[in-house]
């Protein structure tokens, strides 16, 4: 081997060693930068600057290898370290200088072995530094995992590839398979903090690595974890109450996932026909029943349910029947119709027919959910029973023939008004006054309802209270009641001995009462044309009142007045004192939540992941009774995991307000300490 070829080989070695040193020193600087940024909580910009400095150092060191490209420079460097060569090596390295004596002198000393060892020794320190820096980083693997997962920006800046680590909880995937009856799509969530799913949904949690490395539990119940290929997997059904999945692995911190069950709502059923309760003299003919049903997921079937109650006092019999059951095969909504023959029910006087629609949904997991409509009642009146206030029969037909109603009075008045040009004045007045008498009677029935509510007792036929009442506004009525309670206006209205009564003044009925007053006065004078508008107003007002509330027409049982003074302590037996235990302090839940939130706040600065876990645990507890709090907690966890400092501040404030309520501000300082 000639001296020149030895120098060429040495040049290669020098170049390789210098490049290796550059890479090692640059890598060490980058690794130390990342570790320092974590320890000192440096901003991302500082980390990037430090990493760039590492790259710069590496490039600068690599640039120093450039002179080694010159064979003469390499030979001089060797000559400098081995003066005994007497420049023979430089001469021998030059092209075309092949003199044996020079060659012999250049190879007289085995400098190449010494220099190779020297160069290899120069590698030791940089690589030790690189190993130490990597060791520093590897000291907390969870940190590296989080850096890779959460701070993609840094990873991009560094130009490094994020590789899956050995942590089996680093990449969790959640698969939600809704129950078959729901017909909803399967969803998958990567790196989940929670899952909202229908009760009974299959929840499948998977991750990378063997199953034996992972333990999973839900509310302290262990869930088996199995291996499938190079992944682990565990499955459970969405419980009916909120729960917390805990995932543990020896090489990672605990991971929490909130299971938020979504309850399948019961069907909503609305009775469209009949629109209101009714009382009939005779139950004949056909009646239309119609109901609208709808469900959030899908309906199974719907039907009308009727109960016929017969009897009186202590003897009652009941017939319950289901009619028009319709299979709906998962439809979201449907309108149910039925033509019901009243004759077929053979209703007798006093019988009550109650009708409602019932629907079931397709929930096969926790259901079926059952929804029912409001109940409509149809009563067959007994002979001698006096019903009034224009009770319409439920089915359209002949209501006016069955009861003397406001509508009948309007028809009679309109007929009389048409005949008016052909009828003599005295006859007109006589007929109008007959209608006016009926109108007055009906007005009194309306008045009974209005003033019975105010005064507790209906107006008697002989009562002369009607005359001073005449037309009244609700406000006048209220003022009169106020006066009555102060005892300054006599016993105009007894308010049940209670000094803070509620007056259920039905404004529509009072309006009808007043309109009837106007109509009656016009009819008394034979002015049918003037009477008709207020009569129609009265009818409309009665309709409004009946839609607003049901008016019970059966009257009230007679009240027995007990002689309390006579009965006072007349009993033979004596009672005994009983224990009243101090009540347990209510609302410890709120207190516990507040304490837990304070802990999360203290954790926020030094361990955000732990703070997020605390909020997840709070969310599970809040899902049952404080959905608003659960929602803001979920929001806060997501923001916390994204690591946006400004958003965290506002999310924290929202959680706090949901937890404690908004602070109460007052623009004064109280005179007495503690006064609100």
């Amino acid at each position: 081997m000639t001296a020149r070829s030895r120098v060429i080989a040495m040049r290669r070695t020098i170049t390789a060693v210098m490049l290796a040193r550059a890479v090692a020193v640059g890598g060490a600087v980058i690794a130390v930068s990342i570790a320092a940024s974590r320890a000192l909580a440096l901003p991302v910009a500082a980390l990037v600057a430090l990493a760039a400095a590492g790259v710069g150092i590496a490039l600068a060191m690599a640039a120093r290898a450039r002179p080694a490209q010159s064979l003469e420079q390499v030979a001089l460097w060797i000559e400098e370290r081995h003066p005994s060569l007497q420049y023979a090596l430089v001469t021998a390295a030059a092209v075309g200088m092949e003199r044996p004596d020079v060659e012999a002198q250049a190879l007289s000393n085995p400098w190449w072995d010494q220099e190779r060892q020297y160069l290899l020794r120069r590698l030791l320190a940089p690589f030790v530094a690189l190993a130490a820096a990597i060791g520093l980083l590897a000291w907390n693997p969870a940190f590296v995992t989080r850096m890779i997962a959460d701070n993609a920006r840094v990873a991009r800046t560094l130009g490094t590839e994020t590789r899956p680590g050995p942590d089996p909880l680093a990449r969790i995937r959640l698969r939600i398979e809704p129950p078959a009856y729901a017909g909803r799509r399967i969803t998958e969530i990567d790196d989940p903090s929670g899952a909202d799913a229908l009760v009974g949904s299959a929840i499948i949690v998977t991750g990378e690595g063997p199953g034996r490395a992972v333990r999973m539990s839900v509310d302290s119940t262990d869930i088996p974890v199995i291996s499938r290929g190079d992944r682990w997997s565990a499955q459970l059904a969405m419980p009916s109450r909120a729960a917390l999945i805990r995932l543990r692995a020896s090489t990672s911190r605990e991971r929490l996932i909130v299971l938020a069950p979504v309850t399948d709502a019961a069907p909503v059923v609305t009775m469209l026909l009949p629109t209101q309760d009714t009382v009939l003299r005779t139950a004949e003919g056909m009646m239309t029943l119609r109901a609208a049903v709808r469900d959030d997921i899908g309906l199974r079937d719907a039907a009308f349910e009727i109960i016929v109650s017969s009897g009186q006092e202590e003897n009652f019999t009941f017939r319950t029947t289901t009619l028009a059951r319709t299979q709906l095969s998962g439809a979201a909504e449907h309108t149910l119709d039925l033509r019901l023959s009243l004759d077929s029910l053979a209703l007798k006087p006093g019988d009550v027919l109650q009708m409602r629609a019932v629907a079931r949904d397709r929930n096969t997991v926790t259901g079926p959910g059952v929804g029912s409509s409001e109940t409509r009642a149809l009563r067959v009146s007994r002979a001698g029973e006096y019903d009034s206030v224009a009770v319409d029969a439920a089915p359209p037909g002949e209501p006016d023939a069955q009861v003397l109603s406001q509508r009948m009075l309007i028809i009679l008045t309109e007929a009389l008004d048409k005949r008016r040009p052909r009828v003599a004045r005295p006859t007109l007045i006589a007929e109008a006054q007959r209608i006016a008498a009926d109108q007055a009677r009906l007005r009194k029935r309306v008045g009974d309802i209005v003033f019975q509510r105010v005064g507790g007792e209906p107006l008697s036929e002989e009562s002369n209270i009607e005359a001073p009442l005449g037309k009244m506004t609700p406000e006048e009525l209220l003022a009169r009641a106020q006066e009555a309670t102060k005892g300054t206006a006599g016993e105009v209205m007894d308010v049940e001995g209670d000094e803070t009564p509620i007056l259920s003044v039905s404004k529509p009925l009072l309006e009808a009462f007043n309109a009837m007053w106007d109509a009656g006065r016009a009819l008394e004078q034979g002015d049918t044309r003037q009477a008709i508008p207020p009569m129609r107003r009265a009818l409309a007002a009665i309709e409004r009142a009946r839609h607003a509330e049901r008016i019970y027409l059966r009257g009230r049982p007679s009240a027995v007045v007990v002689d309390v003074a006579r009965a006072r302590l007349a009993g033979k037996d004596k009672g005994t004192s009983s224990l009243r235990e101090p009540r347990a302090i209510v609302a410890p839940v709120q207190r516990k939540r507040a304490e837990r939130f304070t802990r999360a706040t203290l954790l926020l600065a030094r361990d955000p992941a732990a703070a997020a876990d605390t909020l997840l645990v709070m969310r599970v507890a809040a899902l049952g009774d404080a959905p608003a709090l659960a929602a803001v907690l979920d929001d806060a966890v997501r923001i916390l995991r994204r690591g946006e400092p400004r958003a965290i501040v506002s999310a924290w404030a929202r959680v706090r307000r949901a937890l404690d309520g908004a602070p109460i501000a007052r623009s004064s300082i109280p005179a007495w300490s503690g006064a609100p």
């Binding site: 109960i307 009564p501 509330e549 049901r550 019970y552 059966r554 007990v562 302590l569």
Partner: protein
């Protein structure tokens, strides 16, 4: 301070006024055994009316199916949350009767599931002591209705106190007589009503 007023609940369905003498009888009993200031007559108050909140103890009974309107349900929910106590008695005393089935279904919709009230509950010791729980009625002992002697009442608690007491024992029949006729009884069968009222007023 005004007197305690015994209130009967009026609901849209059914025969809410099936036991018209019960209020007077209970008022008489309250006066007879306690020093509680009580109004001499009861009142009737609609479950759909806001006036029901003036009477934190309400008595509801009937034979016929019970179907509350939405307004009645809403008011009853608020009534329970504010601390009212609803005492419901099945005048049919029939465990599978229509009143029982419909009333418990409706009450469960409003209050949640009904649970038996243990016979050690303070309700049975709050004035008179009923060691064996709710007193039996002659209707139970005679084998009428469902032919059963109901060992417990049912109920629902809110914040540690009863918000609903449901009875299948037919106290409505047992107490439905004029208070003057009490003198013909060797044992006053209305004493449990005192416990109900005292419990409502003190717990």
């Amino acid at each position: 301070m005004t007197d305690f007023v015994f209130a009967t609940a009026q609901y849209e369905s059914g025969d809410w006024d099936s036991a018209p003498m019960v209020p007077a009888n209970i008022i008489d009993t309250i006066a007879r055994y306690t020093s509680i200031d009580v109004a001499p007559t009861g009142v009737i108050v609609g479950l759909s009316s806001p006036a029901m909140f003036r009477y934190p103890l309400l008595y509801l009974t009937g034979h016929l199916p019970v179907r509350f309107t939405e307004a009645e349900r809403t008011n009853l929910r608020a009534f329970a949350e504010r601390g009212g106590l609803l005492f419901v008695d099945d005048h049919n005393h029939d465990i599978d009767g229509t009143f029982h089935k419909t009333a418990t279904e409706e009450l469960a919709r409003v209050y949640g599931p009904l649970r038996p009230i243990p016979n050690t509950h303070p309700l049975y010791r709050t004035f008179f002591t009923f060691e064996d729980g709710p007193p039996t009625t002659s209707h139970e002992l005679n084998g009428w209705g469902d032919n059963l002697v109901h060992k417990t009442l049912s109920g629902v608690e809110r914040s540690g106190r009863l918000a609903l007491v449901y009875s299948s024992k037919d106290y409505s029949s047992e107490w439905n007589y004029h208070p003057d006729n009490k003198r013909f009884l060797s044992v006053d069968n209305t004493k449990f009503a005192v416990n109900l009222v005292v419990y409502a007023l003190t717990r």
